[in-house]
Assembly symmetry: C2
Homo-oligomer: 372 residues x 2
């Protein structure tokens, strides 16, 4: 069985590494001939507008998935007759546009903060006036904190209006959250759903910095709330594969921020920290195989490596540390790898101490990349 | 950094899958264009006599290793100037010949059963007369129970003599063992050594059937004995990488049967069951990186899939089961995959029950392959 993956970044690479042991083969589609996923399968290079390249990619592929939510839906339409596309077109369409996404959340009974859409500068100004402290974001193509701006005074609206270039803006009231959590779950072809535990995420400069799994202090009611919300989204979309919803925890209640119709950075800890990783379960789901348990094996902390990898010998001298180098060239602000530290035997050095040492190594590498 | 691996079987495939997350690239050398390792790197096809193919393989490789102990040492000699070869030539030479191996064990202070070499039919007959119940094996190229025969009566000697074709025989007194254990360990460039726990192996028709890890009822003295013996072998060989010694447990004391200068089938459980897998630690060792902890995370049982893979949906419907399909065509007696079952959370169905169900699935597939 051959899996076609649109996108050949680190998510594709890790999907391949998880799926090869199941006896599956992978083909990736990416604009770059040096895409990280090259290590785990064939690579077809092309743009999403290149119908011939898409056809080469889709030849002899049994199922198609995506690891990048900005794949144009037109590309999916070109592939629609080649093989089943999982998750489907609608999941991509909903999550590509922040206004559609928030409207969909409302339909699905998923609570969010207050928001308005703004197609004109006038609408932007009146939304900002109504909502008070708010963030303006492009409806489309924003990621890792790009394409967004905080509005503090009415004058900021003029500057924020310049963000818009492809399809309007959304204005979101600032949510005074206690922390950010995310829920990763997977749904199979047969409707079976597995939930990984809620995890806590810390962002730095708009980019995920650490994930702590499982999140501490999650009341059973909050766990239920998160699982019910993601289940509702999955069932409405007849979703197949891994889905992630990022939440704000506001006084013990969850407000959804956004969703990603794919494996997610806040689920990387699952490779070592849970019984079945998000990558393996995504592959199992789209291949029509039974899903695996999503329980945590141990407490884990994932640290993202941004800009440049810390030196492998320095990282690996700490025991119980799992290094993931995506094989990408160093560049400021780029996700080039991650490190997962598990509270697994032997427990000499504490998880906290290990995390502190490794955060220091990761920060040194980030600063070197930032200096160029 | 690029790792060159002589041999492109499942061991190479799993070395690649373990090393890619460390940011390493792999190139394999194998006679078959469909070698399982193809999924995890480049493949150079050729025979070990083909100097030009070996040179293509070795170009731009930073270190060379082998996953197959019957690589001719002449091939290593052709590669000697291209990159460091780890483990070295001597480890290969010793383990390729059962007489050299047993002599080396004696030098290293590693206890074995009684044995004699036999270069003529006369020597074979007199060895058999001296040793009583014994097994005759070819000195070279035997594996998975091939190239050997039990001698029960003097008349069997004539038949056994026909085994010899390339370099004589060894005659080994039958050891009345209680069980078979193996010790897998890894040594780094700096001499650091890590030991996985002793594991218990059950063979069927000369092929490894199951490994139970850690082995039950291992006294501290036996653990020390195993670790001291493998340490002694590694230090004498200035060994770098993973080494395995298979032992007989005779009344709580260990007698070495044979060694393998590579990752080993009885170490496959380490992928999920230990903090650092044998594959990752082998790669770390030969790449000059620090070694990782080799402690067990949970009790695990590995079952080999022989002949044909059981259907993935049937296997994966059991929770906490880790499937490894090597992507090989079905063929009677061939190792085509393995399954590891870990005693990890949630612990609904017992480890023993899961193992029984899966052994049944594996046996059904084996029988289908055996019928053709």
């Amino acid at each position: 069985m051959r899996i076609g993956v649109l996108g050949g970044g680190q998510l594709g690479r890790m999907l391949g590494l998880a799926g090869i042991p199941l006896g599956l083969e992978f083909r990736f589609f990416d604009a770059s001939a040096e895409a990280p996923a090259l290590a785990a399968g064939e690579l077809v290079c092309g743009s999403y507008e290149d119908a011939a390249a898409l056809q080469r990619f889709a030849a002899d592929v049994d199922v198609i998935t995506y690891e990048f939510e900005n794949v144009p839906v037109q590309a999916l339409d070109l592939l629609a007759t080649a093989a089943p596309i999982r998750p489907g077109r609608r999941a991509l369409e909903v999550s590509q546009d922040r206004v559609n996404e928030k409207s969909f959340f409302a339909e699905a009974g998923v609570a969010t903060g207050e928001w308005r859409k703004a197609d004109t500068l006038e609408e932007l100004k009146s939304a900002a006036a109504e909502l008070g402290d708010c963030i303006v974001k492009t409806r489309r193509m924003g990621y890792d904190g790009k394409g967004q701006m905080r509005i503090k005074t009415p004058a900021d609206c003029e500057t924020a209006w310049n963000l818009t270039s492809n399809g309007g803006l959304i204005v979101e009231k600032v949510v005074p959250f206690d922390r950010e959590l995310s829920q990763v779950a997977v749904r199979g072809v047969d409707g079976d759903i597995r939930f990984w535990p809620l995890v806590e995420n810390v962002h730095k400069d708009g980019i995920l910095h650490t994930t702590t799994a499982p999140a501490q202090g999650v009341a059973p009611s909050m766990k239920r709330q998160a699982e019910n919300m993601i289940r509702s989204v999955m069932e409405m979309l007849e979703y197949v594969g891994v889905l992630t919803i990022e939440f704000f925890d506001v006084d013990g209640s969850l407000l959804a921020n956004e969703m990603a119709p794919r494996v997610h950075n806040s689920g990387h800890w699952t490779i070592e920290g849970s019984v079945t990783s998000q990558f393996e379960n995504h592959v199992r789901a789209i291949a029509g195989l039974p899903l695996g348990h999503a329980e945590a094996r141990f407490a884990s902390v994932m640290i993202n490596c941004i800009g440049a990898m810390p030196p492998a010998p320095a990282v690996l001298q700490h025991d119980g540390v799992h290094l993931h180098d995506y094989g990408k060239a160093a560049r400021e602000g780029r996700k080039v790898g991650h490190i997962t530290i598990c509270d697994e035997p032997p427990t000499g050095e504490s998880l906290k101490d290990k995390v502190e040492h490794l955060e220091r190594l990761v920060e040194e590498a980030r600063l070197i990349a930032a200096k160029g």
